[in-house]
């Protein structure tokens, strides 16, 4: 049985392998090759070695500064999104009237695309700032606050759903046992509920971390890097390098490679760190 299955392995995994190769592996390898080349179109490239990588880190490229800004936005967004999402989820798993209605309401923003959100928030924030005779792109801190606001608004709903699922899976007898042992609400939350929902926290941290780190569409629509590229996140910086400038396509590609290593490295570390916290039920 096992033998015949092994013989058929390619038949079963083949389609997936082919799809994976076309959509991911091949473009990735071509991209890796191109990051060492100078090129205009991807089919016509000349080898230049590590030049692109050296240039990518020069201050003029603003790659490192955009990385710093991205890290800042990500750090704040991961914290606030998860804090709010968990709070909302916690409240909506109490026995309140209309929880289903509120869950839907909180989830809705997630259905709107980043570009639309970006322009919508731009209009909203400008409408507020106009009272103070200023605009969103007059100061980088407005752009920063705007991005964090937008990320929160967009991601809280989705994370909330995951937390709700996690919270509903906390066995009632554990809570009850804690109550009998005299634990107050805070102690129950801290020592029973949170350890039990650790898998949800893992997923949510992972999702928020990677999506805020890779954020592109909302950044493009909201500020497009203004003022003076101070709110340019890494993804936008790479796209701008590639498409708005002449003769630096290879540098853009090199940046993309560095970015890939960073995102995957971060996500891997984060996954490993939180995995250890999980408790078996």
């Amino acid at each position: 049985m096992i033998k015949s299955l092994r013989r058929l392995a390619l038949v079963f995994t083949g389609p997936t392998i082919i799809a994976f190769a076309i959509a991911f592996a091949v473009p990735f390898l071509v991209g890796l090759y191109l990051s060492f080349c100078e090129f205009t179109t991807v089919t016509n490239a000349t080898w230049v070695g590590f030049d692109n990588y050296v240039r990518a880190f020069s201050p003029r490229e603003r790659f490192l500064s955009s990385l710093g800004f991205t890290a800042l936005v990500t750090a704040i967004a991961v914290l606030t999104v998860n804090l709010f999402a968990f709070t909302v989820a916690y409240l909506l798993t109490r026995k309140l009237r209309g929880t289903n209605f509120f869950r839907t309401v909180f989830f809705m923003p997630n259905l709107i695309g980043g570009i639309v959100l970006g322009y919508t928030w731009q209009t909203i924030i400008n409408a507020v700032l106009v009272q103070y005779q200023t605009t969103l792109i007059s100061d980088a801190k407005y752009g920063f606050i705007g991005l964090v606001l937008l990320l929160n608004w967009q991601m809280i709903g989705y994370m909330m759903i995951i937390y709700i699922a996690g919270l509903q899976n906390v066995p009632g007898e554990l809570i009850e046992a804690a109550a009998i042992d005299g634990a107050d609400k805070w102690q129950t939350l801290r020592h029973v509920t949170i350890p039990m929902v650790m898998p949800s926290i893992t997923i949510c941290l992972f999702l928020t971390l990677s999506s805020s780190f890779k954020l592109f569409d909302a950044n493009l629509a909201l500020t497009n890097g203004a003022p003076m590229r101070q709110t340019e996140m890494v993804a936008l910086n790479i796209v701008n390098t590639f498409f708005t400038r002449v003769g630096v396509e290879g540098v853009g590609q090199a940046k993309a490679m560095v970015f890939f290593l960073l995102v995957s490295g971060l996500a891997f570390l984060q996954l490993r760190a939180t995995r250890r916290q999980e408790v078996e039920q």
Binding site: T41, N126, Q133, T134, T135, S138, M228, R245, V248
Partner: protein
Amino acid sequence: MKPSKRILGAVAAVAALSLMAGCGGGGSTGSSDESSGASGGQVYYLSFKPEQDAAWQAVAAQYTEQTGTPVRIVTAAQGTYEQTLKAEMAKSDAPTLFQINGPVGGAVWKDYALDLSDTDFYNALLDKSMAVEMDGNVIGVPYVVEGYGIIYNQAIMDKYFATSGAKAASVDEINTFAKLKEVTDDMQAKKDELGIKGVFAATSMKPGDAWRWDTHLANLPIFYEYRDNNVTDMAEVSFKYNKEYQQIFDLYLTNSTIDPKLTPSKAVTDSMAEFALGEAAMVQNGNWAWGQVADVAGNTVTEENIKMMPIYIGVDGEEKQSIAVGTENFFSVNSKASEADQQASIDFVNWLITSDAGKSAMVNDLGFIPPFSTFSATEQPADPLAKQVVAYMGNTDLYNVAWNFTTFPSKDFKNSFADALTQYAVGNLEWSQVVEVFVTEWAAEKQG
């Protein structure tokens, strides 16, 4: 079980088919691939302006009907031409006819651009110096000329000239920066009397909407700097006429409909709407703007009242300066396409500028002011601003301001400059810092 499975299979098949159709049909005009024309070649043109897509599709259909040569027109989305072209050129079915935006685009695409010096459409050019040449090859031929300046509303101007103490009696008297400032300052002071919110429509500094300042207005100081040095391109500039740029930019900001601090929230369409509604008397833009003005709901600007004058920035001898006429639209033929396709593309362009149907499409449907000798004086577009441009082009007393912004290093340079201008407009940057950005970014981006 059985029937439901069959239905499921059918649904899956339909879904798969529609997916495939979706991929294959994306952007094509439906010209059949089997029926190739007489020469056996076919044309694939990657077009630049989304607003002209429908007109181009009609032209293509007409050409295919007349000659049998399949013509496929694909239009890149607004502001994405370079990236679409980069992607399309990497395909085996690459565009045979594409466009470059001038010497800078030419440098990027020179390996892909055929030498056009023997073509009829190059030889029909009124001014051959307008073509893009690189390494002795003609790689881009302009197919349209455009002009920009300060567009004004004659009705509001007349109202002003009738007020007591008006600083001029007619627009003809405005032929220097000093006069422009004197008149607009006075108009701004009398804005309530004139029923306007400000002389100049909002200075649109919204990201992506600052091209009127980072490109068109910035062209003037660079034009004069090139002229002083007697060159057509420079690896480094000193931004010699930055004071002149600053004074016209300040004029736009102060005699405006809005507070300078709010300029980053305004788009070009906002400015054009203000002009169309009669809230502003002047707006800097080009002949392509008539459509935008005419389409605004509640437009109060009539065809005979919309006029254009040169942009005066305060350079010696500018009384003789005309509007800025030029182009950033050049046809290039893909040198990597098959010879039959290259010939088909050349034939297509020749047809556009020589046949009656082609000429009519160029002038009436696409609204182009053509730079070719094959067009007579009557074969020109009918819209009022294009007429103004044609009139300025025919005025030999004035010298034309060339479109030197086609030599600006890159879009990234323009974005950096626009960002600095925005911060200057809202009061966060000193002018000297803007100049520094301009000079350093120019030099750095020219290096590539």
